[in-house]
Symmetry: D3
């Protein structure tokens, strides 16, 4: 199999946006508590919300050679997903590569490594989800892959998978996006109603008490 796979199927943009507009927590619950990446992968700047199909690269630890071709092959709206050895002490992505991503219309980066130029990244507004900031640049020496399946943050990500990221972290869509969007909407409507009630001091915990009683909980007088 070639190292670099040039293309893959992307879902229609409106289908992606239909599910991607929901929060990562809502998507995770609505698809049966699946698809959340390791919580150490967090946005460099709070308040972002991204979604798009994954374009993937596998880098050797301490090396960013493959990121260049991934950017080159990306299409507007893609999310760059990089597996790089689950090591925070490296910063193989900074404001130069961020500018290349922005020039290509890439909507965000997800990487299991550090990144650098934190201030520049924040000012540019390019959304980056990483293990944090690290000064240490990488080598550009070792060959990896583009658009093979990768594991990032403990989750398998295949090119074209829909990625969603916000302040809570990153989730990959595991169900049919159209059905999932409906489930998310239903969940949000129900939660909004619950929140309104709860804020008035009315609790809606009956189901929880039933569960506790079934399990034999005992109460003091």
């Amino acid at each position: 199999m070639p190292n670099v796979i040039r293309s893959f199927d992307r879902r229609p943009a409106d289908l992606i946006a239909g599910v991607g507009k929901y929060s990562t927590a809502t998507i995770h619950e609505a698809q049966g508590r699946l698809g959340a990446l390791d919580s150490r992968i967090k946005p460099v700047k709070q308040g972002v919300h991204i979604f798009g199909p994954a374009i993937t690269a596998q880098c050797h630890v301490g090396d960013n050679l493959m990121i260049f071709e991934a950017i080159n092959l990306a299409q507007p709206g893609d999310v760059l997903v990089i597996s790089a050895g689950n090591h925070a002490e490296q910063g193989g992505f900074g404001d130069v590569l961020a500018s290349a991503c922005r020039g290509r219309g890439i909507v965000g980066l997800v990487i299991d490594a550090g990144v650098r130029d934190g201030r520049g990244l924040r000012q540019s507004g390019f959304p980056v989800f990483s293990l944090g900031l690290s000064i240490k640049g990488t080598a550009k020496e070792t060959l990896g892959t583009i658009n093979h399946p990768v594991v990032v943050g403990g989750e398998l990500i295949t090119p074209g998978d829909i990625i969603v990221g916000d302040d809570d972290g990153v989730v990959v869509v595991r169900k049919d996006p159209a059905e999932l969007a409906l489930a998310c909407e239903a969940r949000e409507v129900a939660e909004a109603a619950m929140i309104e009630k709860h804020l008035r001091g009315e609790l809606t915990f009956d189901e929880r008490y039933a569960s506790m009683r079934t399990k034999g909980a005992t109460w003091s007088d």
Copy 2:
């Protein structure tokens, strides 16, 4: 002993406020360097300062069933203190439960787990001290306890213990609150005077030099 203990004694609100208004660092020093929880337990949003009596729950790791009854039994002014397995990769508390807390007048949450809906929590203003943000929701299956003593962040917390939290983290009051408030005030007055002197370039380190000399320090010419 029953799983759920409904009530416990709370100190008078003005006594709690009398000590709770001091910073966690001041309280920790003034009571003899006691009571600070593990520093990984931090506020989701900087700039908060909370205090109140602890209402406690013990949850199984990855499970939030017991939080519901803890909220139900709380009184206005309480701090919810949850022991949940010292595991950051779970988010069993988010904006729905935060709204229930706010509806009940609970003043904050302290938990040795992750939480989710970070943006919502920040916008709501409900103070949460946790191991960070995690998308991963919890099960609601396993029985635990309410208002038994718990260990959170390496500190024993008994229902009614006075909890104080700010940007530095969380401390539990270990001394008589009235006496401790006096010690805190004395400490803050002394520190304010030292800070003023220090800012003028006048150091007040004589005691430290005496200590170094006693221990046999040597100086170059």
Copy 3:
């Protein structure tokens, strides 16, 4: 050798500023990927940028006795560099010592431990690079050293070494500062040109492709 060495040579201030004005990531690359401290050492407040010669102290873990004499011996423009056992669960530096630093004209602190009074430190504007915030105060009992070489964040730091810190972390200058400043400037000029091109969607990755081809990369059709 005495515990406390009173003085050491400092480079001229304009030489220090000449290299110190560049970002930590630029300096690290320009000197051959050297000198970056462990990425866990981060600023308490984002947006700072400091530089200056290191004045060093070695503290016992959980003890801050030696910080006092280090402040006393510092000169305006110095950066206080403290080796304290690589342990985050201690806060032996807070707003009182920060005021002493400010009174002496010290420009920042770098420490492999926690610090406390996070809100006060942020408000004062005194730049602190640490392992995070911890309530737990330290003892002042155990003798260490002043102005001996220390290892902080995995890097050897000798008194007078030029320290630079920003949002990405801390780097120590390892090359001749005048030559390094030239290399940094050349690098920034080149990067600015690349960024401008990249933002227009023009990639400048030819060198990377040559490297991939040399190593035998294969492409799908």
Copy 4:
């Protein structure tokens, strides 16, 4: 309250042995999944099994001053339980203090720190449960407490509490020891029967399937 509390009540030795002879895992289950210390606290040498009443000390991180008086006040059969800052990079206990423990008839040490002289400790046969081996000796400078309650490995330990340790780690007895011994025995008998059946290939999982069906599990054909 004085720093050093000289004495506390110990349960009768046969009562302690009655429960202490069971494995830590059996005790933990039999008392309702309570009392297990953090799994990072492990024996230096496999194959040991200890039990006895806790005599406790609180040491400052990086300091072992209080261990001396704890040994001095111990009685034959005691287990030394030391809270020392939850920090593995210190070795404040080695073969000299182990010999003092053996001379006093202390049956083992539990500490949330490193220890040193690993080879000597193994050869001496004195059981040590710790965060591992560390060369780094401690200061003997800072006052702590003896026979106050301490938190070690996330569990509260009060002087006289029954401590049990084996290859799996350390557990503190939380129930009446006589009743707990009966529950342990019942559990071991039941498990021995299950093991015998299982080894013959007969599974005894009916209760689990009932549980899965209740929760709505579905099977492929």
Copy 5:
């Protein structure tokens, strides 16, 4: 899709043994540095070497309910691969379940959690690869899956994948097993020849020097 998938295709036993007899390090290199699980997953007892097709289960963190049905559905020669939340502070597998595995002819367990009854597991000889020993038993409350793909130790494992484990850890076969066996054999023959030469003091590093020279290494006189 049902929670529990009863069956999957297994490769012929001799094909599995043909590749499984090589060391994990050899397999990893021979298939292009792929398939190694996180190094924290290690054998409870040194000196084991296992191989077989994976039967998989997904457990909720802190819960072992699904392990029972996985054992029930296993066939002789299978390796039980359990994804359980990447959390070491739980011991949901001990000597009772090990006896059930042995009764069924299961050849080993791979789990991203702790296990317990360390001494019993070692004595039984049943090979277990885990995050270490933990006393803490699990709940049996929450539904998961059987024979769905799982991620364990950062690697995707699909039922029927060939798993190999030895002292170095665990690897999953990613290439055609027959071809991979040939590549492993070639590698071992070449390494044996190199080792023999090296032990005589003859180095075989020419290729490395060519590489260093290409990259511009410089030597002192």
Copy 6:
């Protein structure tokens, strides 16, 4: 400066053996609690004790290219000290390189990375101090240095520095070796006497009590 420095001064072998025969813990104390590497660097096989002058290499994380030339330049009796990015998830040294080391008379390896072929390493008897075992082989692509000073486990090591390793870990000699040997001997004699007394139940803690009294300790009746 060239990448590869071919030679450096070694102390006479009997001088090295004179201090190297003492335990790491004794050396660390006798030279003023200096020189101990991070406790995570541990022997692959217990019971070894090595000493010798350091020959150093700096490798890029995930790359072992420079180890080859370090072995080539080593002399009998040397200890190979490799700085490799403080990352356990790589195994760039196994039984092939161990045989090259043995053929050259190298007495041991110290590395801040993983190694592989654990069983082979143990059987060969070649002493290795590392972050543990990892299957994952490294690239051989990126240039580093030979015989420049390196930081390994938080300690600066310069070629020719005397390295000592045993079960407790690794220490680098920081004082004149002849004087240090005398201090070690004195310490061991004193400790042997203390151990003998302690085993008879006679404590020798007077100095500790004096210290506690000075600090104001209080005792219960």
